[in-house]
Structure formats: structure tokens, C-alpha cells
Symmetry: C2
Subunit: 137 residues, 2 copies
């Protein structure tokens, strides 16, 4: 069995926030939106339906926990959840906090403009708020 190894582009564009039972939770380095990735730690999987049934259930549970935590941590109006992967094929699920008036609202975040850099302090502060919301069940 092949070992899971995080895709190089996901590694470059995001930082680890938490590790759950199945997924690494990562924060995208983009100051425009609070934007997380849930990456199931399974090698060679591209589509959600390729995961084993138990992993599919775990993924749903973890996505929904993270989405709820992100909603609480940010007070966002709407959470966007998506598995797209047209470019990076390693299965990864986007979980993004959206609010009226944010860049490209109500359009999607993908393929829109370029990432806005965040300082290490900004990343650490947001990561901490999310980790705290995740631990408050």
C-alpha cells in the first residue's frame, strides 16, 4: 500500500492547522477569505467516491465539523464546500467562509484573481481561532 504524501502545490499554498482522524486540515495562504482545506490522508485518491465507505463517512463528519467551526470562528454568512480538483488531482475539499461584499461575492473563489499574502502572525492568529472553535464541540 502506497503511503500518503501531501501534494507539493497544496503544501506550498497552505499551512497545517489540525490533524483529524482522516484529514489534514490546512489554512490557505490567502488573506481574501478564511479558506481551509481538508485533505484525506489516503494515497492515490482523486474522487470522493473512490474512498472506502467508512472513509466517506469520516470525511463527511470531518468536513461538517470544520465547516461549523469555521462558521463560528468567522461569523461568516455562508460556508462554501467543494471538491473540484481539476488542477491538483489529490483529493482535497475546500471549506471557505464567505460574506456579502467579500472579493467576488457571490461568485466562487476559485480561478478569481491572485492570493493576497498573509503575515505569519495573521496566519497563526486565524489558525488558532479555528483550532479553538474545532475543540469546542
Amino acid at each position: 500500500m502506497q503511503d500518503f504524501e501531501l501534494d507539493e502545490r497544496l503544501k506550498r499554498d497552505s499551512v497545517a492547522v489540525a490533524t483529524l482522524g482522516l484529514c489534514q486540515i490546512r489554512l490557505m495562504r490567502d488573506g481574501r477569505w478564511p479558506w481551509l482545506l481538508a485533505v484525506p490522508q489516503r494515497a492515490g485518491v482523486t474522487e470522493m467516491f473512490e474512498l472506502a465507505p467508512l472513509d466517506q463517512t469520516m470525511l463527511t463528519f470531518e468536513i461538517n465539523e470544520v465547516a461549523r467551526a469555521l462558521s463560528i470562528a468567522t461569523g461568516a454568512e455562508k460556508i462554501n464546500v467543494a471538491a473540484i480538483g481539476n488542477i491538483v488531482r489529490q483529493l482535497h475539499v475546500h471549506i471557505i467562509a464567505r460574506s456579502e461584499g467579500d472579493p467576488n461575492w457571490p461568485g466562487p473563489v476559485w480561478g478569481f484573481g491572485t492570493a493576497e499574502p498573509m503575515s505569519d502572525a495573521e496566519i497563526a492568529a486565524l489558525a488558532r481561532r479555528i483550532a479553538e472553535a474545532l475543540s469546542e464541540k
Copy 2:
């Protein structure tokens, strides 16, 4: 308890293909991509994490069945799955067949251009292929 009623815009923009245990499966009237919606028949729900735990599991199961069927029916390179809902707040999950060279590949389908009309015959033919793929487990 409030009765489920399909949002007027979803009703106008799509046609029913199948009814599963939780979701209505609908085909978008847009000839640019084979594009389905899974709409959980639960009133007043906007976010996936607001569904009851059993419904969350059902939704995952149904999304993945439909995504696999769409992949088989179309031979698409990648299936895109997303719950966005910034405009229509009734919870609905997009399941879209994408292939290299399709309109806006590898970008997202949402917020891109305008729908390309389909004839009733085209809609019926695609709906039938998808329903057949869904029934072949």
C-alpha cells in the same frame, strides 16, 4: 414541522431525473456541461452541517452514488462536487462532469457565462443515461 418545497429558481433552472432516499436529483438546463443537483428534501436547511447526522451520512452516500453514475455516463475526466449556495440558500449540491477543453476548464462552472439551452430531447436523453447509470450498481 415545515414541509420541504423546492426553491423556485432551482425548479426553473433544472429538471427532475431521480428521487433517492433523501435527495431529489435534478439536471441543470445548461448544455455546456452535464450538471446535476442533489437537493436534500428537508425544509429550512442551508448548510450541510445543519442536517441531522443520519441525513449527513445519507447525503454523502447519495452524492457519491450520483457522482459515480455521472462519471460512468459521461466518461468525464473529473467530477466537481460543491455546496455553495451564496445566492440560492436552500441546500443543494452541484455534481458536474468536467473534461479538458470544456467551457472554462480548468476553472469553475459557477458564475461563468450564461446557460446554453438544451432541447427537450437532449435533456431526456441525458437524463435517461444518468438514470440508467444510477440503477447499475
